[in-house]
Symmetry: C2
Subunit: 189 residues, 2 copies
C-alpha cells in the first residue's frame, strides 16, 4: 500500500464551510507535539531518516502540562528511502508508557532534540479521502488530502486528491512538498 | 535510596525448603528475556552503559511465541556510573506497546543485539528482604537477596543480607558480583 498525500496552505474557515457544503464527515480532532531527534552517529538530514517522539491528546489543553491519562506517546523511526520513485521506506512505531523516560533514554544515548512541531489537527472523510485541517504553531493553517492505494493506482489516487482539493475551492497546483519539520527548520535558517 | 544486593549460586530445592521453614512469603514468579544491545557509536562495555529490551510474562510458556496480552515489554537505559563507591547511575525505563517495533527501531538506528539473558524468577519476602530464585538459561540456579536502603544504612543492610543468606543455609562469602550478562559473555569468550 502507498500513501498518496497533497498539502496546501488554506484558510480553515473557508474550508470548513466547503466541507459542510460537500457533506464531509467529521472524524475527530487531536493536538500533536512531535519532537524530532538528531543522531550522534549519523546526519539524519543526509540519510533521510527520522526519529520522533509524538505526544498526542484531545484538544483543549496544552501538551505536556501533566501526566494525564488521555495523553498518549509514540516513538517512530523512519528509515532511509528504499526507492526514490515510490518514496517507500521502513517505518516502525510503538506506543510507550512514559514519555519522560523516553526523553531520558534518547538523551542518555546522545540523541538530541532538533525541533518540535506542534499542531492541532481535525480529520474529515470526503469521497474516500481523509481531509486534515492542520493549524501548525509558527507556520499557520494547512489542508492535507490523503488516501492509501495499491501500487498501480497511484496516478488515479493523485487525480482524486486533486479533485477533492478543487471541490474545497483549493488550488492543487499550490501543493507544498516540504514537511512541517522542513518548513520550520527553513524558517530558522 | 540505594539497592543492596547479594547473589550466590544455590540449588533451588534446598533453598525452597529453607524458605518454607523460615516462613517466607511467596510473592510471584515471572519469565524474563532480556536482550542487551551494543551501540554503533560507543563501546557500552567501556562506558558502563546498558540498553535493554525486557520481555516478561507469567511462567508456563516460551517467551515471544505470540503477541499475548500477558506479555509486557520494557526498554531500559542505564547510564554510566556517576560515583563508583555508591554505584549510583541514571536509569530510565518505560513500557512499550510493540516489542517488534522497538527491535525494528533499534536495528534501524544501528544498535545490535549483543546477548539475551533468559531466566525464570520466583520472588519471596523474608525479614524485610526480597529473596529471588533465578533459573538462568545456560548458567544454572542462583539466589539473590536484596533490599533498598538509605545512604547511611548500607552497611547494616549488607549485614542483614548476609544474615538472610545464612538463614537459608547459603554462604555469604560465595557472593558473585558479575551480572548474568557478564557471566554469559564470559562463557562465550
Amino acid at each position: 500500500m502507498y500513501e498518496v498525500e497533497m498539502k496546501v496552505r488554506a484558510d480553515h474557515e473557508a474550508v470548513e464551510s466547503a466541507l459542510e457544503a460537500a457533506d464531509a464527515e467529521f472524524v475527530d480532532s487531536v493536538v500533536q507535539a512531535d519532537t524530532y531527534y538528531d543522531a550522534p552517529h549519523r546526519n539524519f538530514a543526509e540519510t533521510d531518516e527520522a526519529l520522533r517522539i509524538r505526544r498526542e491528546h484531545p484538544p483543549g489543553r496544552d501538551t505536556g502540562t501533566d501526566e494525564s491519562a488521555d495523553e498518549t506517546t509514540k516513538i517512530t523511526y523512519k528509515g532511509p528511502l528504499l526507492e526514490a520513485e515510490s518514496k517507500s521506506r521502513e517505518e516502525y512505531e510503538t506506543t510507550v508508557g512514559d514519555a519522560e523516560a523516553v526523553v531520558g533514554i534518547f538523551d542518555g544515548l546522545g540523541f538530541e532534540p532538533a525541533a518540535t512541531v506542534r499542531k492541532e489537527r481535525a480529520h474529515y472523510r470526503l469521497d474516500g479521502y481523509t481531509v486534515t485541517l492542520d493549524s501548525v504553531d509558527g507556520l499557520g493553517e494547512f489542508v492535507e488530502v490523503e488516501t492509501e492505494t495499491e501500487d498501480d493506482d497511484i496516478e488515479a489516487a493523485r487525480e482524486g486528491a486533486r479533485a477533492v482539493l478543487s471541490e474545497l475551492n483549493l488550488d492543487p497546483d499550490a501543493q507544498i512538498r516540504t514537511s512541517y519539520l522542513g518548513l520550520l527548520l527553513d524558517d530558522d535558517a
